[in-house]
């Protein structure tokens, strides 16, 4: 007998059989809920994975463009000039970290908000590639925050998927089959007992009839 079809240690009584049947109904319901939860979590996970891949691709593309512009900027301006310009830039963005709840899983929420600050340089002091970099950097920061949020959420969701899957499997392959096997065993035992009882009664009846006939 495999371990999954082992029967539970219960008293061989009819009341226990009724209890087991009720337990089976509850176990099936819990299994259904957990399976539904698992489906949701997996669909969320896949959707996030897809989004994270797109986001990462977008970041790579933006970075490539930024570096190309930077090389162009270096051809127009000197290292010193670029350094002086970039050091004076005040922080344009503020990052807010909060939480969001996805099916009971607490995941981070990163939000970048643009601050209204004025540039410390004039258009005459910079060149077109440098202005292009500044514009792209702003989008890049938002994308990086989104990617960070998605990747952490993916990690947390996958842990939850593993945990839920383990519970679903435990119910599906161990608990429910064991309860079913115990119910089957008890039902067969009671049926057997009933048959024995009938046979005994028949035998007693025959004996009594024979005795009466002898008298």
């Amino acid at each position: 007998m495999s371990s999954s079809t082992k029967i539970l240690r219960v008293r061989y009584t009819k009341i226990e059989l009724i209890r087991l049947k009720r337990r089976l109904v509850v176990a099936r319901k819990i299994h259904k809920i957990l399976r539904e939860r698992l489906t949701i979590l997996i669909s969320e996970l896949y959707s996030m994975l897809k989004e994270a891949t797109e986001c990462r691709r977008r970041i790579h593309k933006t970075l490539t463009e930024i570096y190309t512009s930077l090389i162009k900027a270096y051809t127009v301006m000197s290292d010193n000039e670029i350094d002086i310009l970039t050091q004076g830039i005040p922080p344009y963005h503020k990052l807010y970290i909060a939480t969001k709840n996805i099916m009971g899983v607490i995941t981070p929420l990163l939000e970048v908000r643009r601050e209204k600050t004025r540039a410390t340089y004039t258009l005459a002091e910079t060149c077109t590639p440098l202005q292009d970099i500044a514009r792209r950097m702003s989008d890049l920061i938002e994308d990086i925050a989104t990617l960070a949020e998605l990747e952490k959420s993916i990690q947390l969701l996958s842990y939850e998927v593993i945990r839920t899957k383990r519970r679903v499997n435990a119910l599906e392959h161990i608990l429910i089959p064991r309860i079913e096997a115990t119910i089957r065993f008890l039902t067969m035992m009671f049926e057997e007992r009933e048959r024995e009882e009938k046979a005994r009664l028949k035998h007693v009846k025959t004996v009594l009839t024979r005795r009466r006939a002898g008298e």
Partner: protein, 151 residues
Amino acid sequence: MSKDLELEELLKAELLRYANRHIPYTRKSLNKLLSEDFPHVICRDGTKHYFHRRELEYLASLLPKSLWGRLKLPIVIVLSPELGEGAAVINGGLECYIVCRVLGIKYEGQENMIIYRPQVVELRRKLRTTTQYALSLKSLIESNEKLEARL
């Protein structure tokens, strides 16, 4: 009602509570959320669920200002296993209107609507923080008579 059945009922209520513990106690209107610095709701498990301002602004762009106070957030996507795997129900006229606008479906004035898995995924992708899943456990809540009949 026997003691066992009473326990069974309690367990069902507990299951419902456990399965939907991420649902907020009270939903807030779009108007109120837009006026908050950090728009959030408190969930039943005590955690805070924050909304992306970007999403709130997107929703605000879909509705006339006069209706901002009537839209309660988060929009609850009720997953109903009895309708089929992945099928979900959206309740409320305004919520249905928003969902139709987001998914590009024609809105016909319905008070509730059924959406299917690809639509649910699409909706969640666009409104990740302003929507929440909930499990409908209609199939779970069977009447005692039914339960007794099954046994």
